[in-house]
Structures are given as structure tokens and as C-alpha cells.
């Protein structure tokens, strides 16, 4: 479904991605794990078109999307739920959801999805008219996820959904993502909480300093010592 080949990205002088290749198949849950600053978020930003890549190819459903704008990419069905939630703080919950459905013309469908989302997150339904900036961290994360759902994506990308959330909320968030995937949406998730991610995913890539160093199914990677070293620095480095 999504094919990334030899992706190179730069921030000014710094080469953040040094040629990343990965693929996500229809219906799959793929995790991208690695320590801070390894280039996980950059990969997602490049895919969603917020960041332009210096080299490499991106294709989605067989079509080349390397030079597409963010607007075109979301239009093709890739939603990006950004790191740090990034809800619109001065807009209400409802309005944030409206923004998620920004490119959709079908009013009826939007309302249907809104109800679906409120079904999934009753807490948000209660706070429909509250401005997002006043929600708690967990509620904001749920709003951010809901907002992505509102675009009816074929592929949803999550960037560090557990970041800054209390452990019990993290668990809830992972459950939600698991449900989204079970409902048929393909998922690509970036996560530093490696064990949780590996446990949930079908396939995972370990990224280190802008390079994919390891890949395999979640089961395969979960016991790999290299993972721990990548995070905590081990003797083998």
C-alpha cells in the first residue's frame, strides 16, 4: 500500500534520514521504533508531505506521491496524527473534528463519522463545545486521533501517541489504535515505547540515526537485544 524507497531528508545541514526504505501493506499494523532523534517523526512528516524529501521515492496504492503537497496526500487517504497532539487549542472539540474532515464534501458522511467518533470517545461527546486547549492531555490525544479518523483515511499514521501521557491513559490510547486497525484501517505508528509497539504490530522497523538497522515481525524483534541497546546504550555499541 505504502512504499518508501531510499528516502533522504535534511534539516538545513543535518541529514536526518539517510536513505530509509520501508513498506506498509494493506491492513497491516507497522511500527517504527527507535530512540529519540533517530528520525522517526521525520519519516512521517516526509510521507505526509509537510516536509519535502531531498531524495528517494514515496508511493501510495501504486501511485507516486513523492512530490505531492500535504493537501493532496491527505486527499489520497493518508492521515497524520502529529506528535504532541497539536489540537487547535482555541477551537472547540466539534470544530477540531470539522478540521479533520476539511477536504470531505459529504455532509451526511461527516455527521455519521462524528457520531461514530463520539461513540468511541464518550468523553469527547460530553465536551463537544469546550475549547480543545482546556482538555486534559489524554482527552487531547483522543481528540487528535478522532480528528484523523474524520478524514476517513485508508492509512493512519500516529506519531508518538503515548508521549507525555500517564501510564493508564497510554494503555487506553493503545487500545484505541488497536481497535482502529481491527476496523480495517492500515496503521503506521511511530513510538518510543518500544515493547508496547512491538507487541501490537504486525511488522516493525528499528531506526537508528536515520538508518533502518533492523526489521521483522513484532515477535521477532521483541526479544532482540539490539532493541534495548538502541535505547539504553549497551556494550555492543
Amino acid at each position: 500500500m505504502l512504499e518508501v524507497r531510499d528516502l533522504v531528508c535534511r534539516y538545513g545541514k543535518v541529514e536526518a534520514l539517510k536513505g530509509i526504505s520501508l513498506s506498509v501493506k494493506q491492513g497491516q499494523f507497522v511500527a517504527l521504533i527507535g530512540a529519540n532523534g533517530a528520525g522517526k517523526s521525520t519519516t512521517l512528516r516526509a510521507i505526509s508531505g509537510v516536509l519535502s524529501s531531498a531524495a528517494g521515492q514515496l508511493s501510495f496504492e501504486g501511485q507516486d506521491i513523492t512530490r505531492c503537497s500535504a493537501r493532496e496526500i491527505i486527499g489520497r487517504g493518508i492521515a497524520h496524527c502529529p506528535e504532541g497532539r497539536r489540537v487547535f487549542p482555541d477551537m472547540t472539540v466539534d470544530e477540531n473534528l470539522d478540521m479533520g474532515a476539511y477536504l470531505r464534501p459529504d455532509r451526511a458522511g461527516i455527521e455519521q463519522d462524528r457520531e461514530r467518533v463520539f461513540g468511541m470517545f464518550p468523553r469527547l461527546a460530553e465536551r463537544r463545545q469546550q475549547v480543545a486547549g482546556t482538555l486534559s492531555g489524554g482527552e487531547q490525544q483522543m481528540l487528535a486521533i478522532s480528528r484523523s479518523i474524520m478524514s476517513r483515511p485508508k492509512l493512519m499514521m500516529f506519531d508518538e501517541p503515548s508521549l507525555g501521557l500517564a501510564p493508564n491513559i497510554v494503555e487506553q490510547v493503545f487500545d484505541i489504535i488497536d481497535n482502529i486497525r481491527k476496523s480495517g484501517t492500515t496503521v503506521l505508528m511511530v513510538e518510543q515505547n518500544a515493547y508496547s509497539a512491538l507487541e501490537m504490530c504486525d511488522y516493525a522497523y528499528l531506526i537508528e540515526a536515520g538508518v533502518i538497522v533492523l526489521s521483522g515481525t513484532g515477535e521477532e524483534l521483541i526479544d532482540n537485544k539490539h532493541i534495548r541497546d538502541a535505547y539504553l546504550g549497551g556494550s555492543g555499541h
Binding site: 509537510v50 500535504a70 493537501r71 497539536r86 487549542p89 477551537m91 478540521m99 476539511y102
Partner: protein, 290 residues
């Protein structure tokens, strides 16, 4: 007491038009970070356009106001595309300088086309004022007051209720995430500048007939608009509305009870005081970190 009531009525009418001027500027600054020195020229443009359409072409007065607003919108879009889009990402004083250049060109263009002699627009309103008790006000001013309120309400609804308005607010709050939602940021910039310009043109179209229309009218409008925006806090429509009424109040009271020579100083003194004690304006939330 009579005098005070009259001052209050004057303040409401003046304030409504000030608010209209301020809203346009605050939108442009808030979303685009452009210090728009040409704002007053769009105000003058609106006034001249009403003169042109209603007097020279002989169209209906109310219709010509609508035409002027649309023309202001188009001119704003044009300015954005030609002058601001190529300089996207330039620092704030560079774009400001461009707008100063546009101001000089537009103001002298007006004089070139229309000459320096002030123009006036006759309106279908009766000349005799509306008198309620001891308070007296012209019918035209009453119309301007309600038209301004309607436009303020309309822009409020546009920003808060429509898809475009939501996209504008989203862009203002978090540009990157807005583009992740599929918002076309370039288009939002153009729409913002066009909307701000059409509000300025609307203010000019409404006030031109109240006052007289001259090439210089934009200068004072720009200055007042800046004052209003600062009072209300940059980027806040509600703030600009209240700021407009506050400035009008300060001027009325200043001229009525303190000294007419310092009338215009009142607004600026309030601004200095506001900024020193509450640097983000009276009604803006503190800008978020990151």
C-alpha cells in the same frame, strides 16, 4: 447629563466604524503577520468606489456599497498575490516596507485619478436628524451604525461558523497542523487579506458618505486601526471590536471633558498604558510557547 448622553451616542456610532476598521487589520496581522500600512488606502479605495459607482455611474446607493465591498475584496486578493506572495517568509519589516510602498503608490494614485478636491456622496437619507429626547443623530449615522454592526456580526459568523473561517483560525493557531488537515495555506492567506481588505473597503464605503472623500483619508484610518488592534490584542476579532469602542470612548470623553487638542492623544496614551501593563493587549490570550 444631556451632553454625556450625546457623547455616548456619538461614541457608539464612531466605535462601530472603528471596530470594522480594526477587525480587518487584526485578521491580516494575526494570520499573516503582515503589518498592513495599506489598510487605510483600502478604506479610501472603498470610499472612492462608492463615489464612483453611486455618483458617476448613478447606481443605487446601497448597491454601490455592496459593489465597493466586493471591489475591495478583489483588490485585496490582487495585492496579496502580486506583492505579498512572492515575499512569503521574508521578515516582518520587509513586508511592512512593501506595504508602505503600496500605500504611497495607492494614495498618490487616488490623487492622480480623482484630484485633491474632496468628494462627497449624497445619500437617500433625510437631512433632518433623528431626535430622541435631548439626543440627536443623523439618519445616515444610524444606518452606518447598524450596517457596521451587521458587518461585524457577519465577519464574526464567517470566522466562527464557516469552513473557510475555521480554516483561517486553524492556520492562525497552528499552521503546520492545519496543512496536515488539507488546508491550502496559500489560499487562506489570500482569503485573509481579501477579507481584511473588504472590511476596510466596507468601512470606507460606509464612512465616505458620512465624511468627505479625499486622498488623505487613509492616513488617519490606518493610524486609528493600529491603535484599535493594539488595544484589543493582535488577532482577536472580539478584542478589535471592543478596542474600537474603547478608542471611540476615550476620544469622545477626552475631547468632551479634557481637551480637544489632546483628543487623538487619548487613544495613544491608553495604548502605551495598556502595553506597559498588559503587553499582549487587553483581550488576547498569551501566545503559546512552541
Amino acid at each position: 447629563m444631556t451632553e454625556f448622553l450625546q457623547h455616548i451616542v456619538n461614541m457608539l456610532i464612531l466605535g462601530s466604524t472603528y471596530a470594522l476598521l480594526g477587525i480587518g487589520l487584526t485578521l491580516i496581522f494575526g494570520i499573516m503577520r503582515v503589518v498592513n500600512f495599506a489598510h487605510g488606502e483600502l478604506y479610501a479605495f472603498g470610499a472612492y468606489f462608492v463615489y464612483f459607482v453611486s455618483i458617476l455611474l448613478g447606481l443605487n446607493f446601497f448597491l454601490s456599497i455592496l459593489v465597493a465591498i466586493v471591489a475591495g475584496c478583489l483588490l485585496g486578493a490582487l495585492i496579496e498575490v502580486v506583492l505579498l506572495r512572492p515575499m512569503r517568509g521574508a521578515d516582518i519589516d520587509t513586508t511592512m516596507l512593501i506595504m508602505i510602498g503600496a500605500m504611497i503608490v495607492m494614495q498618490n494614485g487616488e490623487q492622480y485619478i480623482w484630484g485633491g478636491v474632496a468628494k462627497s456622496v449624497n445619500t437617500p437619507f433625510p437631512q433632518a436628524p433623528l431626535v430622541i429626547g435631548s439626543v440627536s443623530v443623523s439618519w445616515l449615522s444610524v444606518f452606518v451604525f447598524f450596517a457596521s454592526l451587521a458587518l461585524i456580526a457577519a465577519s464574526y459568523l464567517l470566522i466562527n461558523r464557516t469552513k473557510l473561517g475555521k480554516a483561517m483560525r486553524a492556520t492562525f493557531q497552528d499552521r503546520d497542523t492545519a496543512s496536515l488537515m488539507g488546508v491550502n495555506i496559500q489560499m487562506i492567506y489570500m482569503a485573509t487579506f481579501a477579507l481584511g481588505s473588504s472590511l476596510a473597503a466596507a468601512a470606507g464605503a460606509l464612512l465616505g458618505p458620512v465624511y468627505v472623500i479625499s486622498p488623505q483619508m487613509g492616513n488617519i484610518a490606518s493610524l486609528k486601526a493600529f491603535a484599535i488592534v493594539i488595544l484589543g490584542g493582535l488577532g482577536s476579532i472580539g478584542g478589535a471590536t471592543i478596542g474600537g469602542f474603547m478608542l471611540a470612548f476615550a476620544e469622545e470623553i477626552g475631547a468632551g471633558y479634557i481637551s480637544s487638542g489632546y483628543r487623538d492623544a487619548m487613544g495613544f496614551l491608553i495604548i502605551i498604558a495598556v502595553l506597559l501593563f498588559k503587553p499582549t493587549g487587553l483581550f488576547a490570550r498569551a501566545e503559546r510557547i512552541g
